[in-house]
C-alpha cells in the first residue's frame, strides 16, 4: 500500500473527525453528541446514499452486470457468517459465535460511505447498484445466525418464551430482513431515487448531495466518540476476538477481491464490494441479536465491530484493499 494513498485517506476531514471523536472518548472529555442527533445523521446518510444510488441506477439501467453483482453480494452475505461461525466456535459457545458471526456477515453502511468518499477523491466511479448490493447484504446474516443457533444449540435452552420451539418463525425473519429501519430506508429511497430520476435528484441534491461530505464528517465525530468509549473496554473481549476483528475482515476482503476479479467487476465496484464483505454491522444486527439471541453477550459482538473493525477499515483497510485491487486490475 503506498504511503501516499494512506495519508490521502487519513488526511481527509471525515476520517480526522473520527479520530477527533475517538481521542475525546479516550481522554474522557465530556464531549458527547446526544441522541437523537446520531440518529439524524445516520438517517440522513442512509437517505442520501439510497436516493443517489437509485438515481444512478436509473441512469445506468438494470443490466445483466448489475444482476451479477447482486447475486455475488447475496452469496457472500450467506457465506461469510457461516465460515465466521466455525472459526468463532474455537473460543465461543454457540450463542456468542452465532451472534458475532451475524455481525460480521452483515455490513456497515458508514464504512461503505467512507469508501465511496475515498473513491470520489480519487476520481474513480462505482455503480449506483452497489447500494442495492449493500441493502441485500444487510439481513441474510441475521437469518443465518438464527439458523446456526437452531441447528447447534442444545434443544431445551432453545425454547422460546412464546412457547415457540424454533427461533425461525417466518414473520420474525421477514421483519428483521425487510422492515429493519436501515434496510427499509435504503430500499425505499433507492426506489424513490430510481422512480423520480433526474428531476427528483435535482430537487433534493442541495440537501442530500452537496452536504454529504460535511454530514459524514459530523457523523464520524460521533462514531469516534462511541467507538472510543468501547475501545477503552476492548481488553475485556480477549485477544482472540481482537485478532479476529482485524483478520476476518482482511480475509473476507481477499475472498471478495478474488470473486470481483473472476466476475469482472470494475475497479470501483470491486472496492465497494470488498468493503461490504470486510465490514461488520454495529447497528442493525446487534439490535436483532439482542432480541433473538439474548443468551449472547452484547459486548462481544458490538465492541469488536465498532471499536476495532470499523476504525481499522476506514483508516487502513480501505486504502489497503484499494492498493491490492489497483495492482491486480492494473
Amino acid at each position: 500500500m503506498s504511503l501516499d494513498l494512506l495519508m490521502q485517506n487519513i488526511l481527509n476531514p471525515a476520517i480526522m473527525m473520527f479520530f477527533l471523536g475517538l481521542f475525546a472518548a479516550i481522554l474522557k472529555s465530556p464531549l458527547d453528541i446526544p441522541q437523537p442527533l446520531p440518529k439524524l445523521f445516520s438517517l440522513y446518510l442512509l437517505i442520501a446514499i439510497g436516493f443517489h444510488g437509485g438515481y444512478e441506477l436509473a441512469k445506468s439501467g438494470i443490466t445483466g452486470d448489475v444482476l451479477k453483482v447482486l447475486l455475488l453480494a447475496i452469496l457472500m452475505a450467506i457465506l461469510v457468517p457461516i465460515y465466521a461461525f466455525f472459526i468463532l466456535r474455537i473460543k465461543f459457545d454457540v450463542y456468542n459465535a452465532a451472534a458475532i458471526a451475524a455481525t460480521y456477515g452483515s455490513i456497515s453502511a458508514v464504512t461503505f460511505i467512507t469508501a465511496g468518499n475515498f473513491l470520489n477523491t480519487l476520481g474513480v466511479n462505482y455503480g449506483g447498484y452497489m447500494v442495492a448490493a449493500m441493502t441485500l447484504m444487510e439481513s441474510p446474516a441475521i437469518v443465518i445466525g438464527l439458523i446456526l443457533v437452531s441447528f447447534f444449540a442444545v434443544k431445551s435452552l432453545n425454547d422460546d418464551l412464546n412457547g415457540n420451539t424454533s427461533r425461525l418463525n417466518l414473520k420474525e425473519v421477514l421483519n428483521e430482513s425487510l422492515l429493519n429501519p436501515s434496510v427499509y430506508i435504503l430500499l425505499g429511497t433507492l426506489i424513490i431515487g430510481f422512480v423520480t430520476g433526474e428531476k427528483g435528484w435535482k430537487a433534493v441534491e442541495p440537501l442530500f448531495g452537496n452536504l454529504f461530505k460535511g454530514m459524514l464528517a459530523f457523523f464520524l465525530l460521533d462514531m469516534g466518540i462511541v467507538a472510543g468509549k468501547r475501545l477503552v473496554e476492548v481488553k475485556k473481549v480477549g485477544t482472540f476476538l481482537i485478532g479476529f476483528a482485524v483478520l476476518l475482515p482482511v480475509f473476507n476482503a481477499f475472498v471478495a477481491i478474488g470473486l470481483a476479479k473472476i466476475f469482472g467487476l470494475s475497479k470501483g465496484d470491486a472496492l465497494m464490494f470488498t468493503v461490504l464483505c470486510a465490514s461488520a454491522s454495529y447497528i442493525a444486527v446487534p439490535a436483532a441479536m439482542r432480541m433473538s439471541i439474548p443468551e449472547a453477550n452484547p459486548s462481544l459482538y458490538v465492541t469488536p465491530a465498532l471499536a476495532i473493525t470499523f476504525p481499522f477499515n476506514i483508516s487502513f483497510g480501505i486504502p489497503l484493499y484499494y492498493t491490492i485491487i489497483n495492482n491486480i486490475w492494473g
Binding site: Q35, K229, Y282, I283, A287, M291, V302, L306
Partner: protein
C-alpha cells in the same frame, strides 16, 4: 384513597413492547413508561449507547390490586430470568 400495589420494572428497551403485551394480557388497567433509563446491574453497564440502541433500559410501573400484582409478577419472572432486568412490588394509596 384505596390501597393498591405498585409494580415497578426495569428492562432492556428492546423487550419493552413484549413486556407491555404481557401486562395487558394479565389485565392491568394501565401503565406508565419511562424510556431512556440507563443503569448498572448483573449484566454490566447499560450506558445508553448513543448509536446501537442496544444498551438502554426502560422503566415501567403499573398500579393494581394485590391479585393482579401477583399475576404481573408471575408473568414477568421468566422474562427477567431470560433477558435480565429487575422488578419490585410496594404499597401505595391510590387517589381515586
Amino acid at each position: 384513597m384505596e390501597k393498591a400495589k405498585k409494580v415497578e420494572i426495569v428492562i432492556d428497551s428492546i423487550h419493552l413492547s413484549y413486556l407491555l403485551e404481557k401486562l395487558q394480557k394479565v389485565g392491568v388497567s394501565g401503565y406508565s413508561v419511562f424510556k431512556d433509563v440507563i443503569g448498572m446491574g448483573e449484566r454490566g453497564m447499560m450506558a445508553g449507547d448513543e448509536l446501537t440502541d442496544v444498551f438502554k433500559n426502560s422503566y415501567i410501573f403499573t398500579l393494581c390490586d394485590e391479585e393482579t400484582a401477583n399475576k404481573v409478577v408471575e408473568a414477568i419472572r421468566p422474562i427477567l430470568k431470560k433477558y435480565g432486568g429487575i422488578c419490585t412490588v410496594s404499597d401505595v394509596l391510590w387517589v381515586k
